[in-house]
Symmetry: C2
Subunit: 258 residues, 2 copies
């Protein structure tokens, strides 16, 4: 087995088609990023949307039109090849899945790197309070909440949130740890009652996999990086390219922020 | 004298042409913002530049093209009227100063609200370590440093930095206080030797007013919100509108961040 000990090493594997799985748990010292690529026209409104909704959409970097190098987050990397897997959406519908997007690249494409909760999950693991989705090796439960995002141009819709059940006596610790990562969704947006944020059945997620909430556990909810993608799909943008779910872009940015 | 006790009240005075002075020291509970308005074509590259240089250019909000309402930072406000004073640059040259920009507004204009050090200066005052520029009522000293920003498209150039001399035994406190405000330039980028960041003569600022460095004081330098303006002037963008120096846009965002 290849030892992946740096973000650059993982990006190189992805570039050569040798990495197709989840990036969760890898490179615990680095920030992981959601990727959304849009034509410049839509991208300007999307940038506005992200700044208006910084909890689900924390911007790590935007690239100028046509430039596939994230010069701050990972100098020398190439966003056309260095993500393990890509999804291509046309007019809001999933059109294909791919290992690279070199032949789809255009001079007007703008890439957004947005913070990801994999980043703070490392901190929870290290502090001895691993999220259940990490322990079980499942995808985190995600829900379309009743919280409306602040709209910007064509982009509007509900905030997507993640659910992690936490033992009652660990809630404060988990809240405090996650609050240290505003670039990775930060503190929970709600703790306690799923119905209070418009979630009818916490056992039936809209995305990801269900997670049991056991006796003595409290459901904690965080803003989720699926929000901007869901909003862009709903806006039926001509072309949108994203990472394959849970196969994130590994940046060189230190986990604690800059 | 009118008591200005809220950001909304100050914005209303500005809107009616009844406020033309500095906003420094007002509304200590709110974040103040640098304003940069650009046509969408340049704005997309400028957004990239800001994300690549988050210390001098912390993004508080971007508005979608044509929309003058900062829906997150100050819902209901109007960026065409609610800044005390504006500067209009054409092809990189100062063309005029104005009290409002209603008749210059276009469907393709994008406004950037960027963090401002007035925000953390309030915290220094409250902690009993007021910056000398606040005590003396002068403009802070600003320098083009030798630190190159990460370029994005047409935007590149040196980081502009502010200088505040601080008593040796207060340096740690001031560092720690400012670090709590990453949305307002955060921790100092350098402490001690002006020459180490390419500043030859700390008594001759490139912008603002000189400040004496007294016996037992250490020069502390922070990233400065003049950086993005200086870079946009150098890029000779067709049209750029900014706030008048030290007459910032008052947001409703709490000083400590969101």
């Amino acid at each position: 087995m290849t030892v992946v000990d740096s973000a650059a090493a993982l990006r190189a594997l992805a570039r050569h088609g040798q990495w197709r799985g989840t990036t969760g748990g890898y490179c615990p010292g680095c920030q992981q990023a959601n990727v959304v690529i849009l034509p410049a026209d839509a991208a300007m409104e999307f940038a506005a949307f992200c700044t208006r909704n910084p909890v689900p959409c924390p911007i790590l970097e935007i690239t100028p039109p046509g430039d596939p190098e994230p010069a701050r987050a990972a100098p020398g990397a190439d966003l056309r090849t260095d993500v393990p897997g890509y999804r291509v959406y046309r007019n809001g519908a999933l059109a294909e899945k791919r290992g690279d997007i070199r032949d789809l690249w255009r001079d007007d494409l703008v890439a957004f790197l947005l913070g990801c909760s994999f980043t703070f999950e490392h901190a929870l693991v290290e502090a001895g309070v691993p999220p259940r989705n990490v322990q079980m090796g499942t995808m985190v439960s995600m829900f379309r909440s009743g919280i409306e995002c602040v709209p910007a141009g064509r982009f509007h819709g509900p905030m997507v949130v993640t659910l992690r059940p936490v033992a009652e006596d660990k809630v404060s610790l988990v809240r405090e740890l996650s609050a240290r990562y505003p670039h990775a969704h930060g503190a929970p947006i709600h703790v306690g009652d799923p119905a209070a944020i418009g979630i009818r059945d916490a056992s039936r997620p809209d995305y990801g996999e269900p997670v049991p909430i056991r006796e003595g556990e409290v459901p904690m909810f965080w803003g989720c990086g699926v929000t901007p993608q869901a909003v862009a799909v709903a806006a039926k943008v001509e072309l949108m390219i994203t990472h394959e779910p849970s196969q994130m872009f590994l940046t060189d940015l230190p986990r604690e922020g800059t």
